[in-house]
Symmetry: C2
Subunit: 297 residues, 2 copies
């Protein structure tokens, strides 16, 4: 479940609701490419902007469209009550795994977060991935807290933020965490630009935004790293440097991925929930030029 | 509407729902003390943790219990769609004003936030207060952006984060913002420990957490500052220093206020939405000791 390439599709939407057909086409394309799992309602899937009811619907649609590929469903919410409802709906829909970030408005303590994971892990029957994304949750995990949470029932993976780009530093970072968690808990890299380094440094999974749009490219990079072909994995990542530069320059991967989806016909504009917007003007032209240059159609 | 003391009550709740009787008693007590306005569903009222439907109910209950004192209702949400629904429900309930923070999960740009306020200001018919709280929203307003938003229709106040404690520095900070906004837009201080300094530095309002529990004390401080009695205002604030120290040491005002409410019988435990918790153990004992020492029953 939590190894190899987990590809995260967008959830195209406008102010009226979810664009269901566009979403199911994105999911079906990932299934066709035979990614190792499909991660719906991640940050890329705009989970935080949807109601409990809308999330139940997305979970159902995704499993129906995944053609047997395991679906991981994001269940994070500000309230434990809503997290538990999301978990229940995702399990009823047939999710193979769940993904939980400690979303915050008021600053959370380590005890709050441990208790959240403890409560949820006791309420679910499928494997859980801990989603560590300080840029959006504003909660910073210590490795010690990761170690405590990784001992809880159902916890089987940790989705970590980007590792250092230097391979030796990346290996040291992964080894530090590895030493504190059970053997059956995988470590997965997020932040596409750090994916090759992360996989080569010992991460067993890549939780991938670009994999949600270009599953074949992401699979090729993943398989090269899994086979120990460091040069090919790194070369494939380096070839995408213009894409990574867009993430860097335009506030992260979501707006870039959504703009690409609009420009390539994968989603109709607008596809993000207001007040978020895809890139416009010069930024949009630059994205279009990168699509052209890298042949990312 | 947006001058003097605006007192912010807690919204006591547990995992089953809102404790309506406890909430209406808190509101009625503020009305009885004749605060200048009652600010429901602020950060202190845990607005971010409630559904659109629950927030409509709280808005209705608060106006019914406010005995004619103007009620300001917090309408912030991650999605513009939900902000507009909250605004509509609050106006239908009889809110005298609205309070809007740019809540974020994905990082917001200045354009996103301007467009949010522009959309909302065109959709409402009552005055709006801009809620600037970078500690919870993770969005930082520039004064230039405040100036642009303050020109929008319906915008009549800005709720600013704590000013510097040095009075001259505080005056300079308020004057900088004042120079960029229309004359009919007030500036209100938040962060109780900075309230006396903020009011003496030229803020026309105090958006107060402790005023939601102890309206008479907060009114006395406010009236002294409004009368230009700097010494009395500062002395009254200094007398509450042990309370401000609790805010500082325990992650802000919400957990302290909620713990006080539980300890003084204003709310039954638990009164915060999980995964948040009131203070326990030694921290709770220290809060109890401060209540005793300052006679805050």
């Amino acid at each position: 479940m939590f190894t190899g390439l987990s590809a995260f599709p967008l959830t195209p939407m406008n102010e009226q609701g979810i664009k269901e057909q566009e979403f199911t086409q994105l999911v079906a394309r990932l299934a066709q490419a035979q990614v190792d799992s499909i991660g719906v309602l991640g940050s890329t899937g705009s989970y935080a902007y949807l109601s409990v009811e809308e999330r139940a619907r997305v979970a159902k649609l995704s499993v129906e469209s995944a053609a047997g590929v395991p679906v991981v469903v994001g269940i994070g919410a500000l309230r434990t009550r809503d997290v538990l409802a999301n978990a229940e709906h995702a399990q009823q829909a047939g999710a193979g795994g769940l993904l939980l970030a400690p979303v915050s408005y008021q600053k959370l303590t380590d005890d709050d977060v441990f208790n959240l994971f403890s409560t949820v892990s006791r309420a679910i029957s499928v494997p859980l991935c801990v989603y560590d994304n300080p840029g959006t949750t504003h909660f910073t995990f210590s490795d010690e807290l990761h170690g405590r949470i990784a001992e809880l029932p159902q916890v089987r993976s940790i989705k970590i933020p980007p590792v250092p780009y230097n391979l030796e530093d990346a290996k040291a970072r992964v080894a530090r965490l590895r030493a504190l968690i059970p053997n059956d808990v995988t470590i997965g890299i997020s932040g596409d630009p750090a994916a090759a380094t992360g996989l080569l440094a010992g991460c067993e999974a890549w939780y991938s935004v670009m994999g949600g749009l270009y599953p074949e490219l992401a699979l090729a990079l993943t398989r090269a790293a899994q086979a120990g072909d460091a040069e090919q994995a790194q070369t494939r990542s380096d070839a995408l440097a213009p894409l990574w530069a867009l993430y860097h320059d335009y506030g992260g991967s979501l707006r870039v991925a959504a703009t690409i989806a609009e420009l390539t016909g994968r989603a109709s504009a607008p596809c993000l929930p207001q007040p978020l917007n895809t890139l416009q003007g010069e930024a949009r032209q630059r994205v279009a030029a990168v699509i052209e240059a890298l042949d990312l159609h």
